[in-house]
């Protein structure tokens, strides 16, 4: 009997001590939680953006194979984020500076919140095909990751401002003013072509976000090997 009691007490003690050790992670330094470093935050955010890009890339290629087996479809499309000016090579991105780079990232992410949820809803409604079930799940996943990524980038900018690495001029402009209402919002239901275009555009923008985040990290954190 005593052995059972002893075992129970040990387990309780271990559980309590483990609770003490693994304090919840918080970003604003509230009492009782463990604040992650900027490096950890960047690491997490880059992982998320990488995952987001890879899922959207897979979905796009599956889409192409399923619906448009003909390769190399030429169609001059215009993404709804066309008007967000983004650096298009390494030198330009590095020349941009932290504040502007951060703003670009934030704008890109904010521009995709609504379209992705629309994409998911549209895909999930079209249930008559097996592909749509698979694709709508992926669309949901992308949408969720984007949401988390937005939060993560917000936290990082706050922390960078706190550390003095980023000037306080970096603001959060409302996405409506930046992103013009693109054509497909007004067209009503989205069809497969629209799905495909959206995926194509999102694949590109997620790659941009990932690259910009990495450059931001390497210019902010003084690591020899980034």
């Amino acid at each position: 009997m005593e052995k059972v009691l002893f075992a129970v007490l040990t387990l309780v003690y271990l559980e309590l001590s483990m609770r003490v050790v693994s304090a919840p992670i918080c970003s604003y330094g509230q009492a009782g939680c463990h604040v992650p470093s900027l490096a950890d935050l960047f690491e997490r955010v880059i992982q998320q953006s990488s995952r987001m890009h890879s899922v959207s890339s897979d979905l796009h290629s599956d889409f192409e194979q399923y619906f448009f087996p003909r390769k190399n479809l030429i169609g001059k499309r215009k993404c709804h984020t066309y008007d967000i000016l983004t650096p298009e090579d390494k030198e330009n991105a590095q020349r941009l500076g932290r504040e502007q780079l951060t703003e670009v990232i934030v704008r890109l992410l904010q521009a995709w919140g609504e379209p992705l949820s629309e994409l998911y809803q549209s895909m999930s409604q079209d249930q008559n095909q097996d592909f749509n079930l698979y694709s709508s799940n992926k669309a949901l996943e992308i949408s969720d990751i984007l949401h988390e990524l937005k939060d993560g980038v917000t936290i990082i900018t706050e922390k960078m401002k706190l550390l003095g690495v980023l000037s306080n001029t970096v603001g959060y402009n409302s996405p409506e003013s930046l992103v013009p209402s693109s054509a497909f919002y007004t067209q009503g239901d989205l069809d497969s072509m629209d799905h495909h275009d959206l995926l194509y555009c999102f694949r590109r923008d997620s790659n941009k976000a990932k690259n910009y985040l990495r450059i931001l990290k390497c210019t902010t954190l003084p690591e020899p090997d980034c």
Partner: protein, 493 residues
């Protein structure tokens, strides 16, 4: 006329023959484009038939976010039928629309447009400088592989992240074993065995692009000499095994002393007031006898070995004694007990035999008065029932001087003891009872405890009284010397 006709026909024929191998060029085909580091890219095409005439190819492109049509900036750097776009002409995340035009004297041919985004065509060069190093350890060797990232990739600024993969095969088999290395440029293989030739190749990946080609093969042979060390280690292990067995045998042979050393005997518990030996030697009757206080006896005899209670010794006033001298004899009560808090079962003089012997004396009158040192005076009343359980007490009414005590007459309980508590501060002395006047008056002799000695007069004497303030051994004697010893408190039941 005919000659002219024939000549014209011939000319026409030759012209016809000649012109059948000459034509406009065939349509070229754009094969692929590739960017090794996401900063420049190269595109290759395949020309169609040249139509027998020297044809030239030109690559034209249009670009998203850029007005106009442009021609390839560099046809030479990447070899024949290729176009190299340097950093100034490369933009990522924009669509390029490429076309190749083949032209010769007779015409042009344009390829199908080829759309590409640099983001999609990233394929790095193979990693270079793959080196192998064998580390020889006792148990098994291990293979350390090191390589360098491809020279044109820029990992320092974070523009691209490289992931590596390597594959290993042993000897000439076709089974490659693949391992992922992440972003490290080194890897250690532990599943190698001596006596084989290992071939290693490495490849890399940028972001979500394509894998590079496998690097050049590097191989290494792991020698067999390690097997010679086995007999030595076997010898050592055998020797140590023998030593252990011998140590075990010795331990078994001497297990008793080992057991004594490891687990020393624990002293058993002793119940206060019970002589365990007595309990063991006799049956329950003995215990009962021991506990029962016979009526002719002062119930203080016995097995109470570690009684700590002391009793008062009552009066010793000579005056009182004189009038009652004839009673002196009767006032004596033999008692025997141990004050000692330690359990000395061997020294216990208080046994049943003593008890029995003392029976005869009991011509005591009603008042047997056992006394102790500190605070209690026990009187045994003449009670019919020998039942120890009923203890009688008489309360002290008054302590006249330090040697006269008046007791209350009424009985507190129905048995035969009178207890009273001495005042504090009174030094522990032995006093001999000179006389018990009545059943409420006891006269003590003024005497020092140091004078106490155990006399041997009656053979009821059991032990010497050692005058220790705290632990007196007191013995009793049946004598008429008027001396009363300290007596343990009777069981208060």
């Amino acid at each position: 006329m005919r000659r002219d006709l024939r000549g014209a026909l011939l000319l026409l024929l030759t012209a016809a023959v000649q012109s059948s191998s000459m034509s406009a060029p065939g349509k070229p085909v754009l094969l692929s484009c590739r960017s090794p580091e996401k900063e420049t890219f190269t595109c290759w095409w395949e020309p169609g038939s040249d139509g027998g005439l020297p044809t030239t190819h030109h690559l034209y492109y249009e670009r998203e976010r850029l007005e106009g049509t442009y021609e390839c900036p560099d046809y030479l750097s990447a070899g024949r039928n290729s176009c190299f776009f340097d950093k100034n002409h490369t933009s990522i995340w924009v669509d390029y629309y490429l076309t190749v035009m083949a032209s010769n004297a007779l015409g042009n041919a344009t390829s199908d447009p080829f759309k590409m985004d640099v983001m999609e065509i990233v394929k790095p060069d193979a990693p270079g400088n793959v080196t192998l190093r064998v580390e020889e350890r006792e148990a098994s060797p291990c293979l350390h592989v090191r390589w360098m990232p491809p020279s044109n990739t820029d990992t320092k600024s974070g523009w691209v992240t490289i992931k590596y993969e390597l594959r290993v095969k042993k000897d000439n088999s076709n089974n490659w074993k693949e391992y992922t290395s992440g972003t490290q440029t080194h890897f250690s293989l532990y599943s190698v065995s001596p006596g084989g030739v290992y071939t290693v190749q490495v490849r890399c990946l940028l972001d979500h692009g394509s894998w590079s080609e496998w690097s050049n093969t590097t191989f290494v042979k792991i020698s067999n000499y390690l097997q010679n060390e086995r007999p030595l280690s076997m010898l050592i292990s055998i020797l140590s095994a023998i030593l252990f067995i011998m140590a075990g045998l010795i331990l078994i042979a001497k297990r008793k002393s080992v057991k004594q050393w490891v687990l020393p005997p624990v002293p058993g518990p002793k119940i206060r007031g019970i002589n365990s030996q007595l309990l063991q030697s006799g049956g329950s009757d003995d215990v009962g006898n021991v506990l029962i206080i016979k009526q002719s006896f002062p119930p203080i005899y016995f097995v109470w070995e570690d009684q700590m209670e002391d009793y008062l010794i009552v009066t010793e006033n000579e005056d009182w004694l004189s009038s009652n001298s004839q009673k002196r004899k009767k006032s004596l009560i033999p008692a025997c007990f141990h004050f000692d808090s330690e359990i000395h079962s061997k020294e216990s003089p208080c046994h049943q035999n003593d008890w029995e012997k003392d029976e005869e004396i009991s011509q005591v009158d009603n008042n047997n008065k056992p006394f102790t040192n500190t605070g209690y005076v026990d009187f045994q009343r003449n009670v019919e029932n020998v039942d120890v359980k009923h203890v009688d007490y008489s309360r002290v009414k008054e302590v006249k001087s330090d040697n006269i005590i008046f007791l209350e007459k009424e009985k507190v309980q129905s048995s035969g003891y009178i207890h009273f508590q001495r005042q504090e501060g009174i030094p522990e002395d032995y006093s001999r009872v000179k006389e018990v006047e009545s059943d409420h008056l006891v006269v003590l002799q003024k005497q020092n405890a140091a004078d106490l000695s155990c006399k041997d007069e009656g053979n009821h004497y059991t032990d010497c009284a050692l005058h220790k303030p705290r632990k007196p051994h007191v013995c009793t004697e049946l004598s008429d010397s008027g001396y009363v010893d300290t007596i343990p408190a009777p069981p208060l039941m």
